[in-house]
């Protein structure tokens, strides 16, 4: 193949035609074997359970008997859910938790971010402190807040009394339990959202601010005409992950109130857990999971739509 006349070219040509192709085949073979393992894993531990959840939600089954004994009941479980006052209440509690936590976490996070990027010193320290609650185990923090909120000797009441306000029953009063639980989650996540917003705010080119300054725009004008539109895509993204996360709330409620008092804080995942593992209505719990998943999906798509419209309006 390699003639004396043009050895270098011919050798490279040979490598290109035989060598690279051989390598490409080897590369693809390796890739498919890895991708095969990945898909096998997901089939067993993700797609499999997903199909099982979907199938079981149309049957009556306690989760303990052999799966063959699951009796097909059509949409009975779903019909049961939407006529069950308790499930509807748990959905409302989910929404209540989510909108309150959303306002607290995103509102406080954005406010702190706007302040922190404008101060000249101690920025790193502010980020360090704000992020600390986020990394702590949620169980430890939930227990801590239960102790702080003790209606008899809790420090929160001591603080209220100190500034002349009456004591509160916090987690033990159906009227305030949800707000008290949300207070903990806002404390835990405000700094995390602050960090996310700082990153988004710093991505806005400084020239825009300089130009606005030269044109004589005040701080409020600058905020509404430059900052808001520029961080809108990031804002929607942050908003999406917030809603997805908050609708799935389980651990803080499970640790702090077990859904009480008087079911005032019973959220969907908690009811799902109790339905599956205390009442052994396993198939009903799976139907709940699917309903909640669809709600999360719809809210995500809805927010994405807003994002697209916001981005389009900008152009």
């Amino acid at each position: 193949m390699a003639t004396l006349a043009e050895p270098a070219v011919a050798r490279r040509d040979l490598l290109t035609r035989v060598g690279i192709r051989g390598l490409a085949a080897r590369e693809a073979a390796f890739a498919y074997s890895i991708v095969g393992v990945i898909y096998l894993f997901f089939t067993l531990f993700v797609f499999g359970p997903l199909v099982l959840a979907f199938y079981v939600s149309f049957t009556r089954w306690d989760g303990l008997a052999p799966l063959a004994e699951a009796r097909f009941v059509g949409i009975d479980n779903y019909a049961l859910l939407f006529t069950s006052e308790r499930f509807i209440m748990s959905l409302w509690h989910d929404f209540e938790w989510t909108y309150k936590a959303y306002i607290g976490q995103i509102g406080l996070g954005l406010m702190l971010a706007l302040i922190v990027i404008n101060i000249t010193r101690f920025q790193t320290l502010a980020r360090l402190i704000a992020f600390t609650p986020f990394i702590l185990p949620i169980v430890a923090v939930s227990i801590l807040f239960t102790i702080l909120m003790n209606p008899v000797w809790g420090v929160f009441n001591a603080a209220l009394n100190f500034v002349g306000l009456p004591s509160n029953r916090w987690l033990t009063d159906p009227a305030t339990a949800m707000d008290a639980a949300v207070l903990m989650i806002v404390w835990k996540y405000a700094g995390y959202y602050m960090i996310l917003f700082i990153t988004a705010l710093l991505a806005v080119p400084q020239e825009y601010y300089d130009a606005a300054h030269i044109d004589g725009a005040g701080p409020l004008q600058t905020f509404f005409y430059i900052t808001v539109p520029m961080i809108l895509p990031a804002f929607i993204f942050i908003s999406v992950i917030n809603v997805i996360g908050n609708l799935q709330v389980f651990t803080p409620i499970f640790v702090m109130t077990q859904g009480g008092p008087n079911r005032a804080t019973e959220v969907v995942v908690l009811l799902m857990y109790n339905t599956a593992f205390n009442n052994f209505q396993y198939s009903v719990a799976n139907a709940m999971a699917i309903v909640l998943f669809v709600i999360i999906l719809v809210l995500t798509v809805f927010q994405m739509k807003v994002l697209k419209r916001g981005a389009a309006a900008e152009e």
């Binding site: 080897r26 390796f30 101060i119 600390t132 710093l202």
Partner: protein, 301 residues
């Protein structure tokens, strides 16, 4: 999903810049007042964020009556290290600590390795169908934990894996999130080293070990931190699959301790303090990695 992906990159790529000033230089006294108020607000926020933590750590050293005293007692009359010793050796916390350390370390190490390998395959190898197969992987990111884990529990029960380490490890050997994150980093890496190593006859495995791993050390460390913290703090899955007390992880042990009839609050506070120690150490040593990595892992919610 493509939209989410497109949104993350600009956020993650944001460089750190110096403080951005409000356009108020022409009004100096006004600026001073505003900055003063800003610092005041931040100081109050910082105190509110740290005070509960202080109360927890100090509370672990108190005698029981000091925790529940009215009016509140801020510092213990005597620092009772015994509380910590007792909790670690005589309660479930010790067991939970051991189980959590073992399980979380195993899961973290394996998940980082599988994420690097998976990310490498989808970022750097050329094969027909790559994009479609990758979309298939990241589409599972949309599935919330509860939807998968409740049916997964039944599978574990049928396999007779309840109360075993493998139930806590095997379902987490690889995650779409880890693969996604590592792929995002590797897409931007130069291909020359990898290609030339391959031309020299290096096998794919040795390419991954010798060339890819050193290049992704930084993002892999960020991923490792997040996997560790996430699994260290997780309650839902262990609550489903671990029913015997000697198998409890730390969050479960804490929860059980809190639910006991004769609750001793000072000991619970000591247990909660012990539970935060590993994450505080990791945070203190690697804060820069963590804060830099947070926007990417923000996807996790």
């Amino acid at each position: 999903m493509a939209t989410v992906q497109a949104e993350i990159e600009p956020i993650a790529a944001a460089p750190v810049r110096r403080a951005r000033r409000l356009p108020l230089e022409n009004l100096r006294w006004q600026r001073v007042v505003i900055e003063g108020l800003a610092y005041l607000f931040l100081i109050v926020s910082a105190i509110l964020m740290l005070l509960p933590l202080f109360w927890m750590i100090v509370g672990g050293f108190k005698a029981e009556w000091e925790v529940t005293a009215v009016p509140a007692v801020w510092l213990p009359s005597q620092w009772r290290w015994d509380n910590y010793l007792y909790v670690m050796t005589q309660s479930l916390i010790g067991t939970g600590y051991k189980n959590s350390l073992i399980l979380v370390t195993i899961v973290t190490v394996i998940q980082v390795v599988t994420s690097v390998v998976g990310g490498y395959v989808f970022a750097k190898l050329r094969f027909p169908g790559r994009e479609v197969l990758f979309i298939g992987v990241i589409s599972t990111l949309m599935l919330p934990g509860f939807l998968i884990q409740i049916p997964l529990f039944v599978m574990m029960a049928k396999l007779e894996w309840l109360n075993t380490y493998q139930a806590m490890i095997v379902p987490f050997l690889l995650t779409p999130f880890g693969i996604f994150m590592m792929r995002q980093f590797m897409t931007g890496l130069p291909t020359e080293y990898i290609d030339s190593a391959r031309m020299d006859g290096a096998s794919e495995t040795s390419v991954i070990w010798r060339i890819v791993f050193p290049l992704v050390r930084e993002p892999a460390a960020a991923l490792a931190i997040f996997v560790f913290i996430q699994h260290w703090n997780e309650l839902f899955w262990p609550l489903l699959v671990l029913r015997q007390r000697e198998m409890f992880t730390l969050p479960l042990a804490l929860f059980a301790l809190n639910g006991d009839y004769n609750t001793v609050y000072s000991l619970i506070l000591a247990g909660a303090t012990l539970a935060i120690i590993p994450v505080i150490i990791i945070y203190a040593v690697l804060q820069e990695h963590i804060i830099r990595g947070v926007t990417l892992t923000g996807l996790k919610g």
